[in-house]
């Protein structure tokens, strides 16, 4: 008899959310064990035993410990009764197409997902330095994460945000001109949706 499924997750992580949602939707009986990445729980000896690669999500099902969200989703689709066929069809052709998308996702969309979030935050760049500092400075981790994603996706990141940086420069120039001329600063409409 398999023990209850344990899902090790940090809800800040997209693949973790995918696994949790899948379990909930399919009425799978499981225990969610929170692994707080920001508190470095994933580096603890207890969690390292579950996943030596120290990443979430990970699951423990009886004797099986498993990580990599796609592998987990596929395993759960097959291991639990009553899961609708459409999630991971038994038909070999349909299944192959799904596998193809899951593979492609690794190299393409996942970077895109983090990227789109960081892109949102980068829009704050067009604000005056002081405003941006005020808004973002309490969030050291966010700043760190932006930097990490930026580094991971350069040179494309910088290239894509060039237009934003140019806009920032323009606004800065406009602000200086206005400050010099003594005109009251009107609403610049700082974050245009890119």
């Amino acid at each position: 008899m398999m023990g209850k499924l344990k899902v090790y997750a940090d809800r800040m992580s997209q693949p973790c959310r995918a696994v949790l949602i899948f379990c909930r939707l399919n009425g799978i009986d499981f225990e969610e064990i929170k692994v707080d990445i920001s508190k470095r729980h994933h580096l603890s000896p207890e969690f390292t035993e579950v996943n030596p690669l120290q990443k979430v999500p990970a699951i423990l099902h009886g004797n099986l410990n498993l990580f990599e969200s796609h592998a987990i989703l596929v395993y759960l689709s097959s291991a639990f009764p009553g899961i609708a066929d459409h999630w991971y069809p038994t038909d070999v052709f349909r299944r192959a197409k799904i596998n193809s998308v899951l593979d492609w996702h690794h190299s393409n969309l996942r970077y895109g997902a983090d990227l789109s979030l960081v892109c949102e935050l980068t829009q704050l760049e067009v604000l005056d330095e002081k405003d941006r500092g005020r808004i973002l400075s309490p969030y050291k981790k966010v700043l760190g994460w932006i930097e990490d994603t930026r580094t991971a996706t350069n040179p494309h990141f910088e290239e894509m945000h060039n237009i934003l940086y140019r806009a920032k420069k323009k606004f800065q120039q406009q602000r200086s001109r206005i400050a010099e001329s003594g005109t009251e600063a009107s609403n610049m409409g700082g974050h245009s949706k890119m």
Binding site: L66, F67, E68, A71, K97, N99, R110
Partner: protein
């Protein structure tokens, strides 16, 4: 209608598919797509794979790309493929999926990026990128350590403690073979510390002979060409007294 495999033998995942089909006696037609001549951009090939990448297969009216999906499909859809390649057991299968998933952003990203940006780019009409090479090397060495210490843990000499190879072994070993294109010193520096990895490569090669070496022939020939070029450059430098890197890394 015969299975069609669109491949360039310079492409690591293409080689994995070709070797897998040959080892399992699958009747197929290999259609060569020459990446260095940008044949993947032809309208004919785009009709097969709109993402313009090799490998791709056509089985009757069914088209498929992404090498892992292809390996799984062939293992499942063709009779006579031994169970060890892609086991029916749900737990073992899940572990293989985990390795294949991990591979994308780790070994593949590191190995392919490093070889591309230190050696291969000019053959594809691209510039060498020193920064990308350094970044890729970090990912590569970390991935090799992970294989050495985690994936090769267990009783057997294959990944996940297996006694026979799986599609994961074939996929990852074909990736590492690309490192053959590096000059001898670089190659030994990177692979040298990983004894289990070296044994595992040899085991996989042995388990799939003679097809492994036959499919890798193009790579071996290019390696020879590059090493001759390197020696003659070194000779030239010695004669003229100019010091410099043997292969320009820029």
């Amino acid at each position: 209608m015969k299975l069609k495999v669109y491949a360039d033998r310079m492409s690591q995942p293409s080689r994995a598919i070709l070797i897998f089909c040959k080892v399992n006696g699958i009747d197929f037609e290999e259609i060569h797509i020459e990446l260095s001549k940008r044949q993947q951009l032809s309208p004919e090939f785009q009709a097969i794979n709109p993402f313009k990448k090799v490998p791709a297969i056509v089985d009757g009216r069914f088209k498929l790309f992404e090498s892992h999906a292809i390996l799984i499909y062939i293992a499942s859809a063709f009779p006579g493929v031994a169970d060890h390649w892609y086991p029916a057991d749900a737990s073992r299968k899940a572990k293989i999926h985990a390795v294949l998933d991990w591979h994308h952003l780790n070994l593949r990203r590191g190995a392919a990026g490093f070889v591309l940006n230190t050696v291969l780019a000019p053959f594809l009409g691209l510039p060498l990128n020193k920064e990308a090479a350094a970044e890729a090397e970090k990912v590569l060495t970390s991935s090799l350590s992970t294989i050495e210490n985690i994936w090769l843990k267990g009783d057997g000499q294959y990944l996940l403690g297996g006694f026979r190879p799986s599609i994961a072994d074939l996929s990852l070993v074909c990736e590492i073979m690309q490192l053959q294109l590096l000059d001898e010193k670089e190659h030994d520096r990177i692979l040298g510390p990983h004894k289990k990895v070296q044994t595992w490569i040899a085991s996989t090669r042995n388990a799939t002979k003679p097809h492994f070496d036959e499919v890798h022939n193009v790579l071996y020939k290019l390696k020879l060409r590059l090493s001759l070029k390197q020696s003659s450059q070194a000779d030239g430098e010695r004669k003229s007294g100019i010091k410099g890197p043997i292969i320009s890394k820029m």
